[in-house]
Symmetry: C2
Subunit: 727 residues, 2 copies
């Protein structure tokens, strides 16, 4: 009785400790709360009572710690660490590191799982039921450990835990656009995580370790820590020493460190008069600099390069091409196993249709890049707009390794003020059919290496978290980070399945919470499209910061930095003709799509105005005119935000007060902004087409002049963007 009471006391103490942890979002989806379903918790308590750690490698120690912490939280009871397995053991390791794992003879499964895959198996060991996590490498074991905890956090029945999994995409990398002064370009969650002034001394900063855990829990295996608009100083000893400290923290989590580099670094750092990639002195400079980097970071991942794009230096400055530039760096990195991610985000002002440029510039170079170069391509041909057709480079670059670049930070989705789960956008991109080898040649398949003979593949996400307590400021931006990681591991996951995983781990498993919330996860991205740029409109943003609307914007240093360039709205119609009668960008796709996009009637309505300039009275599938459909979409966007508000209020009882209040307030901001977008754009387009609003659609709250004024006056919450002058 006393013993029972003592155990109850210990449990209560534990429970108190766990329950008291503030729900401030810091723990992301790794909250390890006690299983709410009491019957299931009871089963978990029987099945997961201890962990048996095989060896002392840093990675296995991390796996052990994560399992102990996670299981303790989930079961609400202490987790023992015996030397040999008993009933309820979780045994983990590789056949090399663990005799027990070896004895389970999982080699048939392991052989197919590569370096990073894992098996979770339910077995008996000497008659005792155990759970085994096995892999071919310690990092695979770590991934398997996180996956087991994911299964438990999402209340998976014990008899459904057995699984095996290996990642689809080789390089699963997050990108940070962090400047060295800690301001984050397109970052809306505080200052950079990297506290440079305290590195390398303070590498034990809990933020770094938790950052690594968060990424490792998704199987992310690389991070580029500095802005692609790079600062050459990153390659100096001063900063390499600091970066090396971060690399040390990340290494046991299986995360390699990469750096963005500035192409003319030899000129900036050592006074060279050229950065010509074919100049032997320049080549030697890079070889020596790369060698220095590897002295600091022996398993350094490589470089990410933005060159000849938006003013960044590059090989074209020296009359060379992208392959020349990339290959020079690749050659320097090759002896050390490093790679070059070379970005295809290029659009020179004089080139005509910006849509076409990356393809026109890179296709002639297909097959000319070295094996350790990976061309990193944004999902769409313009720049992370709320909806873009996929970049024609996908399915066209056949002899060049590629990576897909996605955006988690909400540069075009309302910064950290709007709820806009990106799962639907990411899966839309992965499921896009390029028709490169007939129907079904999706981008996901290509990235999984199933279509072309790529030596490397990759997926990258610009995450730009910051020192906000919850990493992302808006709690729901976390869901997009989560979705990216899950998709890089398994390109076939659905947006809703990922969304549900995230909701369960981050908030609650209660179906009365999950079901309504799935609605929010399903519509929030589309709402953002609808109240900004429906039917394939794009880039109606106020220039520079991209927060609010400025569809009236028609003057800039470059035509393709005006909204008018993109929408071309006139009295007669709207949209960008990219068919043969226009820029013919559609020829860049494979024939099936070229044909499909040639005719407005066969072009999907959600990308219609990407490809066609149509009259305002063009008839849509709904029977409405184009103008009426446009207004309908704008109204739908606003209504969807109102719906999200109602849904969020309906689940109040399932959410802690702090996060409930925060999201509720943010939805108010989002509704205000959605209405502002809708009203501003509709006012403007009306001023162009002179048409009345459809019946039932409310008049904008103000006149067009008001919205034009607001473009200048409304506060834009971006520490990176230069403040307006004259204040």
């Amino acid at each position: 009785m006393i013993r029972f009471l003592v155990r109850v006391c210990i449990s209560l103490t534990l429970f108190g400790a766990l329950a008291a942890q503030a729900e401030d979002g810091y723990r992301m989806w790794l909250r390890y709360q006690p299983t709410a379903d009491t019957q299931l918790r009871s089963q978990y308590q029987q099945q997961f009572t201890n962990i048996v750690q095989p060896g002392d490698s840093p990675t296995l120690q991390l796996a052990a710690r994560e399992l102990a912490t996670g299981l303790r939280g989930i079961t609400g009871q202490e987790i023992a660490t015996p030397d040999t397995p008993t009933t309820g053991s979780v045994v983990f390791g590789t056949p090399e590191s663990s005799a027990v794992i070896k004895s389970l003879e999982l080699n048939d499964q392991l052989n197919a799982l590569g370096d990073e895959g894992f098996v979770i198996a339910r077995r008996e060991y000497r008659g005792k039921p155990i759970t085994a996590i096995a892999a071919n490498s310690d990092v695979g074991v770590l991934y398997g450990s996180f996956h087991l905890l994911r299964l438990l956090q999402t209340q998976t029945p014990v008899d459904q835990l057995a699984t095996q999994s290996a990642p689809a995409v080789e390089h699963r990398v997050v990108n940070h656009w962090d400047n060295l002064n800690r301001v984050v370009e397109r970052g809306y969650a505080g200052l950079s995580l990297w506290d440079w002034g305290t590195l390398p001394a303070y590498k034990d900063n809990p933020r770094y370790k938790d950052y690594a855990r968060i990424n490792a829990s998704l199987g992310i295996n690389g991070t580029v820590i500095n802005n692609v608009n790079a600062d050459a100083r990153i390659l100096t000893d001063q900063f390499l020493e600091k970066a090396a400290a971060l690399a040390d923290v990340f290494r046991p989590y299986g995360i390699k460190l990469y750096l963005s580099v500035k192409f003319n670094s030899p000129m900036l750092l050592d006074g060279f008069e050229t950065a010509d990639p074919l100049d032997p002195k320049v080549q030697k400079w890079w070889q020596e600099r790369v060698k220095k980097v590897y002295e600091y970071i022996p398993d350094f991942g490589g470089f990410l390069v933005k060159a000849n794009s938006e003013g960044q230096p590059g090989p074209q400055d020296f009359n060379r091409n992208h392959a020349d530039g990339a290959n020079m760096l690749a050659e320097a990195l090759e002896p050390f196993g490093g790679v070059v991610f070379w970005r295809a985000f290029v659009y020179a002002p004089e080139q005509g249709d910006r849509f076409r440029e990356a393809y026109d510039e890179f296709m002639p170079l297909d097959g000319k890049f070295k094996d350790n170069v990976i061309v990193q391509i944004k999902n769409g041909p313009i720049d992370f707009q709320p909806r873009e057709p996929f970049s024609p480079l996908f399915g066209s670059l056949e002899k060049t390794n590629i990576a897909l670049e996605l955006q988690v930070t909400q540069e075009y989705f309302g910064f950290s003020y709007h709820l806009a789960y990106q799962g639907p956008l990411f899966t839309e991109a992965l499921n896009a059919d390029t028709y490169a080898k007939g129907e079904g040649t999706t981008i996901g398949k290509i990235l999984a290496g199933d279509v072309f003979d790529y030596k490397h593949t990759g997926m990258a996400a610009v995450i730009n978290p910051g020192n906000s307590r919850n990493w992302t400021s808006h709690p729901f931006v976390q869901s997009s980070w989560y979705a990216f990681g899950r998709l890089a591991w398994d390109v076939n996951l659905t947006s809703s399945a990922i969304g549900e995983e995230w909701l369960r781990q981050t908030f609650s498993n209660d179906s009365d919470f999950i079901q309504p919330m799935q609605e929010i996860m399903a519509i929030s991205r589309e709402a953002g499209v609808n109240y900004r740029m429906p039917l394939g409109l794009t880039h109606l943003y106020a220039q520079g910061h991209h927060y609010g609307p400025a569809p009236w914007h028609d003057k800039s240093g470059r035509p393709d930095w005006t909204a008018y360039y993109y929408h071309q709205a006139t009295e007669d119609g709207i949209g960008f003709d990219r068919t043969q009668s226009g820029s013919n960008a559609i020829e860049q796709y494979h024939d099936e799509l070229t044909n499909k996009f040639t005719d407005p009637d066969t072009t999907p309505e959600d990308i219609l105005l990407w490809f066609h300039h149509l009259g305002w009275n063009y008839q849509m599938n709904s029977g409405r005119s184009l103008w009426q459909e446009l207004v309908h979409k704008y109204d739908t966007g606003v209504a969807q935000v109102e719906q999200m508000q109602k849904t969020w209020e309906s689940v109040k009882d399932y959410v802690d007060a702090e996060r409930y209040q925060r999201v509720k307030a943010l939805l108010q901001v989002q509704l205000r902004d959605a209405k502002h977008w809708r009203d501003a754009c509709i006012s403007y387009f009306q001023s162009v087409n002179g048409l009345p609003l459809p019946k039932g659609s409310p008049e904008p709250a103000h006149d067009l002049e008001h919205y034009k004024r607001m473009e200048k006056e409304l506060y834009v919450p971006d520490p990176w963007y230069p403040e307006p002058s004259g204040h």
Copy 2:
């Protein structure tokens, strides 16, 4: 037995919850940990079992919540909330709000305590021992509640709790130099706390409430939320609405909101051609704008103004003087009870000795300011240097209200990387004897209103916290914020007593911790003086960011922006002659000090070179030459940091791992910087005087050219300061 065990279980649950709260510094000195001394905890558990709240005012509700939380944490047991007092009650309120308080007949004490003072009394109520917290206002009750909790957190014996206290200084205000884009000028702890983009919707942000608690716990009753280098937009509806939301959060904590305003706002906001304070249209503009502010914030505190200083606009632009400018604003604020804090931080480039300027500019205006103007004066005549003699304006402005401005953010003390508790600097300023009315006319006495017939007095601290988890980034910057608040309440507190309070509440009451740590609290400021600018040297900083050394700096847009201007080191000697043979700044002091500073032999050595240009062989009290003493001081500074490191390591067992590791790493950075300062300055001065180092003093690690190069190359961790170009 069962009941006993149940209570033990509840206690354990509570204990688990409390113990599990991470020691990440977020809770500052309001941790409310269970009393470590078990005997004392037992007494507290008997004496503090419940709280009796008298009324429902927002402020009393906050007091109740704080007492409940605090007592629960300190005693480790649940705190009941009965309607009537019993044994162990804490009864709190005003005689008006609480019949119990009224019945205790504390009026004799209360009558002397003003609006904000409080009494803590141990009494019997109907034969039951209770603790009473009484005041004349609800805010006084709140202050008393925080003070009781302070007493308990510092393990005050029960029989020593009775006390009464009223604040010495009327306006106890914190200043933030936060820009509207959230970058904080001279802020080293993240982005601004004010998340403008989410205001006014998200005013329930826990940060705002905890910010208010932190300040209220010290008795701070005002906050200026935006940069003195002001942005005129703060006075637009858009931002007033946001500021009003913050004011709503702060109000029940007794904290008034103030705003920094730009003097030429009528020109910037409404296209006026002048901001002449004597122009009736300009006056009317301000009257209307002030009226608008009070519509948003009925108890708005007033304005803080930086005018005709470092390029900011001001009355002198229109051939008016400071009084003209301040009075115009004061007149507009007067009907609403607002005040103007008008900063005396002025130094025009052509004026000669910068030291003299504020005095020369403001003394002729003494008595010309309206009653609701308060001239806010930095402690020293230059700018928050590690040691400055006090500003001669103190004790000289007899007919003008004044406030003392201090700096908590470590602009000149190593940002958030160095440990430099400012208690010694603050008390040095408050204890400075102005001799205005004979010996003992300290600045503290003046600010307490005991010397001149001021209508208002104030103390202000530039705190510049940020969104770092622990508010200040370096954990020990918290101690300076704490010291400021305590001194504004009681100017007679000693630095070490305050330091001990802070250590006890923030870390541990264990004397094996306190005693060694007192050493650190005593020397850290002086170490910062010693390894930078001993013996009254000043402003040897690298220009602009003020992080590292550049004593060689002798060219700038203005002479008083060079280090040479301040140290004037030549082959023959060093220091600034401010006696009659020089700028005669010493005449600005009262005679006793003028006389004292006239002769180097009677000038305190720690400010010697503030006032005298002396030969390198000038003999110091120690018998060393000036040069030898200077080197000795530099060496002492480095040795003091090494001592701080050892001391910190010696108390490892008393500190949680997270904060221990962080401070340990920061001390490594500080030692590196201290050596760098010492080596750079000594190299430079040696290059000027050609003298050898004293025996036993180590040669600098590098040559002077190295340190000059490092001025450009060493990374400066400041998001606000413009990054070096060409990278």
